[in-house]
């Protein structure tokens, strides 16, 4: 994981803790209509991949437990992890590319509804991604993967060499000689593993993405609706297909790349296809980047343009992220795949407690405020969701008070304490377990291990009902929270519309 060279340590603090009455009057705990649904409060758990699905992409009991545990804290909304829209193997990531995935997802929506007492709205993030291969052994790459061309023969100075002889000669070269002979893309495939890009126009299935992708998203959204989700979040962020279309690095010349009006074309066509399939009343939002945070990437200026374009096209909500690109990812070990959260742009996406002067809390605050301002000035009231290092009431309320956003997202803080919304609204804010931002969770994610939080995963392992990782070392969900004895039970049912309605 990359960290800023300044290496300044930041310590998250609980901030000022509100009383029950103050929480009840707050913006954070006030309702908000998002499209056709009403959030009971403006708290939001963004999509996190917990590595709990089966290798075939099905919902497991562990997936259900994970989301039900968040639902117990009764946030306004939870977004289910990035779920693949194609019917292709993609490891233990959830999938929605076929009707056979719907029954499992139906159990998931029912479980969340039950666990939250009907308080929490549930969205699902729909994702498309292109192929990425593991970093190969040098010899295997040169002997098998590399396609031999006349460019290689020319560089070796003998146009009559057979493929086998070219491979043999390349294998004997040292790294710097090899670097002179291979093309930049071949070299990249050798050093990082081959990765498809939206600009690989010589590959038919890449060239055809603008025709293929919209119906895939539309079908997936219809399945989400059938499974009982309250809406869908289109994944237009980070290192994946749709973000790659939005990126300034997209140089396609087929009308879907180049200037930003053309880069936003496919995302808008996806939205239109989804909207046509699910109808005007179903909630459709997206997550996208306020800044790609890479050299030559899209900037806030682009993001403001895209945000207004999405709002104009009736996107119901817009959730911002930043960075998380392959372009500056760390070189993986041989046999491992590159991971988009390992370079400087990855740091922008999930900043750790060791940081620079700006710190890890609220790095997307000002960009999101500017995007929201641009959307409002264009005359749209689209819901904006800001996240990134939000870890206490004071900060969350501040984001709403200063007009940064309409809803506050908090992923890692909600993982650290899924009850933090409930505790605060309950007047027990001092009981909130504050995230340390050491990114233990993200390290597990990178290892493709079940994600847990260091602050609770070895607590109360022997309590009946605790489900553990296969090795028995970690619990998979946060221990239950018992409100203190003098807590008033009615508070659970209390909404922000009823300040002081003590039972």
């Amino acid at each position: 994981m990359w960290r800023p060279p300044q290496r300044i340590r930041f310590e998250p603090a609980p901030g000022r803790i509100p009383t029950i009455e103050e929480a009840a009057r707050s913006r954070l705990f006030s309702p908000l209509a998002v499209g056709n649904v009403s959030l009971r409060q403006r708290t939001w758990v963004p999509a996190m991949v917990p590595w709990r699905a089966t290798d075939d992409g099905f919902v497991t009991a562990e997936v259900i437990d994970w989301y039900a545990r968040f639902a117990v804290g009764r946030p306004g909304a939870i977004v289910v992890e990035a779920t693949g829209i194609r019917d292709v193997p993609s490891g233990p990531l959830l999938r929605i590319g076929h009707d056979r995935f719907v029954p499992g997802l139906q159990r998931l929506t029912a479980a969340v509804d039950e666990a939250s007492g009907g308080h929490t709205k549930l969205f699902i993030q729909l994702i498309d991604f292109l192929a990425i291969r593991r970093r190969p052994e040098r010899s295997k790459f040169l002997q098998q993967h590399l396609r031999i061309t006349d460019l290689h023969r020319r560089a070796l100075g003998d146009c009559n060499l057979g493929d086998g002889e070219v491979r043999t000669r390349l294998t004997t070269l040292d790294d710097s000689e090899l670097a002179r002979i291979l093309s930049p893309q071949e070299l990249q495939s050798l050093r990082f593993g081959h990765r498809e890009r939206v600009t690989d126009m010589e590959i038919p299935h890449i060239r055809d993405l603008p025709a293929v992708v919209p119906p895939l998203f539309a079908d997936a959204a219809l399945r989400a609706k059938a499974a009982g989700f309250d809406g869908v979040e289109l994944h237009f962020a980070h290192a994946y297909t749709m973000a790659s279309f939005l990126s300034r690095t997209n140089t396609r010349e087929d009308g879907y790349g180049g200037v930003r009006e053309q880069r936003v074309r496919l995302p808008l066509e996806v939205l239109a296809a989804v909207r046509a399939r699910v109808g005007p009343d179903y909630v459709v939002g997206c997550r996208y980047l306020a800044d790609e945070c890479i050299d030559g990437g899209s900037t806030l200026d682009d993001a403001m343009f895209f945000g207004v374009a999405f709002a104009r096209a009736n996107m119901d909500f817009i959730s911002t992220s930043r960075g998380g690109k392959f372009d500056d990812a760390k070189q993986p070990n041989i046999g491992a795949a590159a991971y988009p959260y390992t370079g400087p742009s990855g740091y922008e996406c999930m900043p750790q407690y060791i940081s620079d002067e700006r710190g890890p809390f609220g790095r997307n605050r000002e960009p999101t405020a500017q995007i929201r301002r641009a959307i409002r000035e264009a005359g749209f009231d689209t819901t904006l969701i800001c996240s990134g290092g939000v870890h206490n009431f004071e900060m969350a309320e501040g984001l709403l008070a200063d007009g940064t956003c309409d809803v506050v997202g908090a992923a890692r803080q909600s993982l650290a304490d899924p009850d933090w919304f409930l505790k605060i609204s309950h007047g027990e804010g001092s009981a909130v377990r504050t995230c340390s931002y050491n990114n233990y969770c993200e390290a597990l994610d990178q290892k493709h291990k079940p994600v847990t939080c260091q602050l609770w995963d070895r607590e109360k392992l022997d309590v009946p009902g605790a489900t553990l990782t296969e090795d028995g070392k970690r619990r998979l969900t946060a221990p239950p929270w018992q409100p203190s004895e003098d807590a008033r039970p009615g508070v659970f049912a209390q909404t922000a519309k009823q300040p002081g309605s003590d039972p």
Binding site: M1, I354, N438, N439, Y440, L444, Q446, Q454
Partner: protein, 111 residues
């Protein structure tokens, strides 16, 4: 910054730390452990696990020697991610501060 296993680990090697590391970045020598600085993510979870406080942040004073040892031997020794029982003499060596001369460059036995 990363975390570093220091002198106190020599001949104690309690291995409590390896259980909690989310990135499995501990490597095992004959009589001590080291952390791979390229894999360590600075989460700090291992630091309080060590019963003899052998794990230090690399920003602490006078541990340059151990920073080098960790960097070099993490590339040579086998990975360890499950706790093992300590050696019979571990307890005796806990109280001895100066153990540098006993450092063994050999990898853990059986590897």
């Amino acid at each position: 910054m990363t975390f570093v296993v220091t002198e106190a680990c020599i001949k104690c090697k309690y291995t409590d730390c390896v259980e909690v590391c989310p990135v499995d970045c501990f490597y095992e020598g004959e009589n001590m452990l080291v952390i791979d600085p390229d894999q360590c993510i600075d989460c700090g979870v291992c630091e309080p696990e060590c019963p003899i406080d052998a794990i230090k942040a690399d920003t602490e004073a006078c541990i340059e020697h151990w920073i080098e040892i960790n960097a070099a031997f993490s590339k040579a020794w086998p990975n360890i991610s499950s706790k093992k029982p300590p050696g019979a003499e571990a307890l005796d060596w806990e109280s001895i501060a100066a153990k540098r001369e006993y450092f063994s460059a050999k990898p853990a036995a059986g590897s």
